[in-house]
């Protein structure tokens, strides 16, 4: 019963996967972004670094140029103001070098370049001061100055070249690193975009999935509450209640109707086993507790117990309880069960049982009475008949004609009583419970019946024409009696002046519209028809003739007890069949026996 919740577990598992994968994607994206940003920062730092180096280098050239042009101005004007920039040239160049050394400390090539640059610059400064010395010395020589100036210019060119080389190197270095960065981060934006789009898709999918699940959950919630309501009503109508006993937490919960069955308002007290036991009849409490043990220990089939409950209003009620142990998805052991208020059924059953017992008793009494009455009545009757036979043998010569007449009437009456008693005895025997069915050839039973009726058949010159009959599973002596009674009946009601001809036929028939309770069942019967050419009867009496003690004729015309055909009906019914009669006055009668195959 707990399997029902499985799809929802699946769904939550799916959502976990979505969540975890989305989380991973986001962490990945964050990592990529971080790296991208770091690269950008590194790249710009490198650019700034390179720019600083270049500007420092340019600065060096500028310092040199400033000093050069100052010296040229002084040579031309002799104004010492022009010498001002060259006064701190050494300082400035050293400072710039310190900065450059610091900036290029990780670059061995540039350090080397710096060393050569230093040499070149020192030479240039030496030339600069040499030119100045020549110009300020007394032996002013135009050629010497020009020579020194040209040398200085050439040296400056060298410095310039070295600086340019270094700048080129720096630019190249920058370009190489820039390319590397670019290569590194060029794919990142596309990756990020794709991943973002992917995670967006995942989120959208998850959203729809969750939405669907919620809808489903809502639906099942609704169904659940409807089912709950339905159960509540059903419990109220059916006078039962359901309960759950959580063995691990020892919680004992019961439904609203449990309270009603106990005569309380729903949830008017805390539900517990202890509280429930208070309502159980003190003598029956052990039944409940023992059944609980049995359910826990044996846990095979649902266990049913019966016990009594004393309701709040003091009324005694009979309860039936069925419980079974279940283990839910969380391996919790729960006994789930139903309590049933079966007081009405119980009381009905008791009264029914009592009445049944009474009925059985009176039936047995009736059978005994019938048997004994028939038996004990026969004794005196037989004695009377025997004495009559003695008188009619010995004393008839001494009797008057009237006495002989009366005597005949006495004999006839006694014979009637005898037949009546015999038939009653037979009828009660037909009623009796013992019914031993055996497979037997009906032809044999018919022959036996004919032997029994031999005298009457001969007296009436009767002919019995019988088709071959089948073998059937019957109570032999009853079917034999049936043949005797029906053939005997035909003989008795034969028409004066016509030899009785009795035709017995048999065929298999299927009866669909029998008063069977089951629809569409085919009932197969052997129909045995016994047809005679006797006085027949009016069809309106076709039913009446089977009723006990009902007769259609005067006693004197056709003697009989009115039991014979009732016995026939009884016998056929004992076999699960039925008997019908058709009659045409003065033409004959036909009895149809339907015996199920």
């Amino acid at each position: 019963m707990f399997n029902k919740y499985k799809p929802i577990f699946n769904s939550s598992f799916f959502l976990s996967i979505v969540f975890v994968s989305a989380l991973f994607i986001l962490i990945f994206i964050s990592g990529v972004s971080y790296r991208y940003t770091t690269s950008l920062t590194d790249s710009s730092a490198l650019m700034v670094h390179s720019y600083k180096i270049r500007s420092e280098l340019e600065q060096l050239v500028t310092i040199l140029k400033d000093a050069e042009s100052g010296h040229r101005g002084f040579i031309l004007t002799r104004d010492s103001l022009f010498l001002h920039p060259s006064l701190s040239i050494r300082e400035k160049i050293n400072k710039a070098f310190t900065t450059l050394r610091e900036l290029t400390k990780n670059n061995f090539q540039q350090q080397k370049n710096l060393d050569s640059l230093n040499t070149l610059i020192n030479l240039r400064i030496a030339i600069l001061y040499n030119t100045l010395n020549i110009s300020t010395s007394g032996a002013y020589n135009q050629d010497q100055i020009s020579q020194s100036l040209v040398r200085g210019e050439q040296q400056t060119m060298l410095v310039r070249e070295q600086v340019n080389d270094m700048i080129d190197f720096e630019l190249m270095y920058l370009k190489v690193h820039q390319d590397l960065f670019e290569h590194e981060i060029s794919l990142s934006p596309l990756y990020t975009l794709l991943l973002l789009l992917f995670s967006l898709l995942v989120f959208i999918f998850a959203y729809f999935k969750i939405n669907k699940d919620i809808k489903k959950l809502k639906n099942s919630n609704e169904e659940l509450s409807i089912a709950y309501e339905a159960i509540n009503h059903a419990e109220e109508i059916g006078e039962f209640s359901s309960w759950q006993w959580h063995l691990d937490s020892n919680e004992f919960k019961y439904s609203d109707n449990q309270y009603r069955l106990l005569g309380h308002e729903p949830r008017s007290f805390e539900s517990s086993l202890h509280k429930f036991l208070e309502f159980v009849h003190p003598q029956d409490r052990h039944i409940l507790l023992e059944s609980g043990d049995r359910i826990i220990n044996e846990r095979v089939e649902p266990t049913t117990v019966f016990f009594r409950v004393i309701r709040k209003d003091g009324q005694l009620r009979y309860f039936k309880s069925i419980g079974k142990l279940f283990t839910d998805a969380g391996q919790n052991k729960i006994i789930i069960g139903i309590h049933w208020d079966i007081t009405e059924q119980h009381l009905n059953r008791i009264s029914l049982e009592e009445r049944n017992k009474e009925l059985e008793q009176s039936n047995a009494e009736l059978a005994t009475f019938n048997h004994i009455a028939s038996h004990d009545l026969q004794e005196p009757l037989r004695i009377i008949q025997t004495y009559i036979s003695r008188i009619s043998e010995k004393e008839i010569v001494n009797m008057s004609k009237t006495t002989i007449g009366y005597f005949g009437r006495i004999q006839a009456s006694i014979e009637r009583i005898r037949i009546l008693i015999n038939d009653l005895l037979l009828y009660s025997r037909t009623n009796k419970g013992e019914r031993n069915f055996e497979l037997i050839d009906l032809n044999v039973l018919l022959e036996n019946a004919k032997v029994e009726l031999m005298q009457s058949l001969e007296d009436k010159n009767a002919i019995v024409q019988a088709d071959p009959l089948p073998q059937m599973n019957v109570i032999p002596f009853q079917i034999q009696q049936l043949f005797i009674n029906l053939i005997g009946n035909s003989l008795k009601f034969s028409k004066a002046g016509r030899y009785p001809v009795i035709r017995i036929t048999c065929e298999e028939v299927v009866n669909k519209n029998n008063n069977s309770e089951v629809v569409n069942t085919e009932n197969r019967y052997n129909r045995i028809s016994i047809q005679d050419n006797g006085i027949g009867f009016d069809q309106q009496y076709a039913e009446t003739i089977f009723v006990l003690f009902r007769r259609l004729h005067m006693k004197n015309d056709y003697p009989g007890s009115g039991i014979g055909l009732s016995i026939c009906k009884k016998i056929v019914e004992n076999h699960g069949g039925y008997i019908t009669a058709r009659g045409i006055p003065d033409i004959g009668a036909t009895f149809d026996i339907f015996l199920p195959i």
């Binding site: 038996h375 004794e379 037989r382 004695i383 025997t386 004495y387 036979s389 043998e393 005898r418």
Partner: protein, 155 residues
Amino acid sequence: MLPNSINMQKGPIQVLLADDDEDDRLLFQDAFKEIKLKTEVQLVYDGVELMEYLSQEGAMKPHVLFLDLNMPRKNGMDCLDEIRLDESLKDIAVVIYSTSASDEDIEETFVRGANVYIRKPNNFNELKKILEKVITINWQYHTSGLNKENFLLSF
């Protein structure tokens, strides 16, 4: 084998009837008086008396016992059981002599060891006929205890 020798009996055939009905006893006696056979008829009134009679020391044991089934105090069935269990009585031919001839009674008495079953007739002539038949019967067949077809004797 006493029953076999009934037919060759030199003295009168000893007949015993156990029946509680006075009329039946009277008619029984009358019938034997009219039968041209040398018989001596003794009468007992019920089962208890019958068993007392049979257990008397030195008393003449009957050749044929006619036993009614429906008797007060001790019925014919019980008497039949006792007789068949008693070694000294096993040679007595037991004829069930009853009003009824129900299948159950016939079956039951046959199984318990009765030799013949006759139904009390309701005509005196028939009574005489059937008693004569019982006495002159060839007991060979009826003591074997296996002949169920001939068990119910009719006139």
